[in-house]
Symmetry: C2
Subunit: 335 residues, 2 copies
């Protein structure tokens, strides 16, 4: 029988369930599907291809005969189980941060560096979701005019944290509106009608790990070790799709019209930029879309060769599940 | 009887009602209070100083014997009525954009340029709310190290739009959660669980008027006509207090510790910056506070002498009503 035996580790999570939908939607040739998760989800049934698959427990023995293992179960699970999957002969596409900065592991956005896929040794890393949304929008401009420096402020949806955070925003919002208490569980403070300038953990120079991922991962994906990036990452009370205000400084001149032309031809990007008709990217419009929406393109005259952009992208799709499946398509030669 | 005869034009609005509370809280010497609004609010009663005042219609004849007229009724009403108020001998403190960039009109943040007040010819302008929140935080650092360039991304609360926008966020959020439709009225698109990168009108170089205010007003307030500022202003589903990610480039070196020391001594600022204890500014904490909260102070190594900041400030208080009353206190010699 044709097709691949595919495992998803973390199949019940926000990204895992989307991986199933993406595989189905893109008609990925699946011979058999293995849904893996932690013990508490064992026996749960997930819809797939008109039928259902039953969740089995993720273990080192889960990967016999598996061709492709998509991991989205957190960095510690990836550290523990991804090498076993690769050793069993599966190609691992890992959505966690576990291996992204490892020298032997390609970190890939197919629109940017698909050639890196060929050098894998069993594991390919999927970048951070905010990084992908930014990189897809900025890469075509970098190719056109040479990106020197990027200042980013993010507006990140709660689904980036996972399914429990989606519930927390919904329930807490209801509670606030009824005048009831809803103590935060997932986040350190209320997210309903609030903003949290804190994503990941605090790390070097008081930047968060999320902010540093946008620096280091972008350098690796672009093959631009000198690229300068500074970020402030902020959680906002939005369910889905990350947005970002990007201030870009280029080596060479690039007008907004040129930028729009370059972006209009770029894969994975949709230009939504017609202020006169109130057309600009918004997370509600980016939700469920494969493309990263790019707009509010302006010449920033506060610096030589500066451009301001505003982008919104579905971080569960292009920022995670879709990007991982795209990598697998290329790696397994199914494109 | 001691004290001033004070009129508030736009007394029923989000800022107007806060002006009444600020006057009362700061024990501003009020002999008589005149609440003015458009015809549809005439007869409405507003609480003030333990009693009530009845709203009268704003007209050119409203200002006889008035010492101080606080305007917060929109730019067109200010254009129409503020000159009449000044001609009648009232000191006008105008919260609209009508006169801010006029050469003969001081544009004042009392913590920054109180000396400009003395040159007024009857009208003093209160800056834009996002501008004030940014300026209060950045001014002490500018004095210490010479600000060259500022890249700002804002996260602005709906109360900046006014009372109807507060209702829209509340009602639309309820509707979304019940699966009901709630067509936007105040904003062009839904604001519940969404972001709108569109504040004010689209103007020169596709920047919005709000984004340009942050450039031109800051230059005027700082007395720094060469200051370079680029902004992206975004409406977020938060009820009150504006937040801003600020990337600053200075003439001279300024470490995060030095910045914290400078800001700790600055009037109108509270440093909230202890990542290890998860302490950082949030709009819920800034709501109802007179101070602008400043935190997430980081050395931005992507540029020489760079600092990243994150600020939250109550834009109805310090961004509007409080700043206007502070101006009046100085102008009328009551401080």
């Amino acid at each position: 029988m044709a097709g691949f035996r595919i495992a998803v580790a973390g199949a019940t999570g926000a990204v895992g369930t989307e991986m199933l939908r993406v595989l189905e939607k893109r008609k990925f040739p699946v011979r058999e599907f293995v849904a893996l998760a932690s013990r508490r989800s064992v026996g749960k049934r997930l819809p797939f291809a008109g039928g259902e698959v039953e969740v089995a427990e993720l273990s080192k023995d889960s990967f016999e005969g598996v061709d492709l293992a998509l991991f989205s179960a957190g960095a510690s699970r990836s550290m523990e189980f991804a090498p076993a999957a690769a050793a069993a002969g599966a190609l691992v596409v890992d959505n966690s941060s576990a291996f992204r900065m490892d020298e032997g592991v390609p970190l890939v956005v197919p629109e940017i560096n698909p050639e890196a896929i060929a050098s894998h040794k069993g594991i390919i890393a999927n970048p951070n979701c905010s990084t992908i949304v930014m990189a897809v929008a900025v890469w075509p401009l970098h190719r056109a005019a040479g990106l020197k420096r990027l200042v980013a402020a993010t507006y990140q949806a709660v689904s980036g944290t996972g399914a429990a955070a989606i519930d927390e925003l919904a329930e807490q919002t209801r509670a606030v509106q009824c005048g009831k208490a809803y103590p935060p569980k997932v986040y350190p403070y209320p997210i309903a009608f609030n903003l949290l300038p804190h994503i990941g953990d605090f790390a070097e120079r008081a930047y968060t790990t999320e902010e540093l991922k946008m620096l280091y991962e972008t350098r690796k994906i672009f093959g631009a070790p000198e690229l300068r990036v500074s970020c402030t990452t902020v959680r906002v009370p939005v369910f889905r799709a990350h947005s970002e205000a990007l201030n870009c400084e280029f080596e060479r001149a690039l007008t907004p019209d040129e930028a729009r032309r370059v972006l209009a031809e770029a894969p994975g990007v949709e230009v939504v930029d017609d202020p006169k008709s109130n057309r600009y990217p918004m997370p509600l419009d980016a939700t469920g879309r494969d493309e990263v929406l790019v707009g509010r393109i302006r010449q920033d005259s506060s610096v030589e060769h500066g451009l301001d952009l505003w982008v919104s992208g579905d971080q569960i799709l292009k920022g995670a599940a879709l990007n991982a499946v795209q990598i697998a398509e290329i790696a397994l030669g199914k494109v």
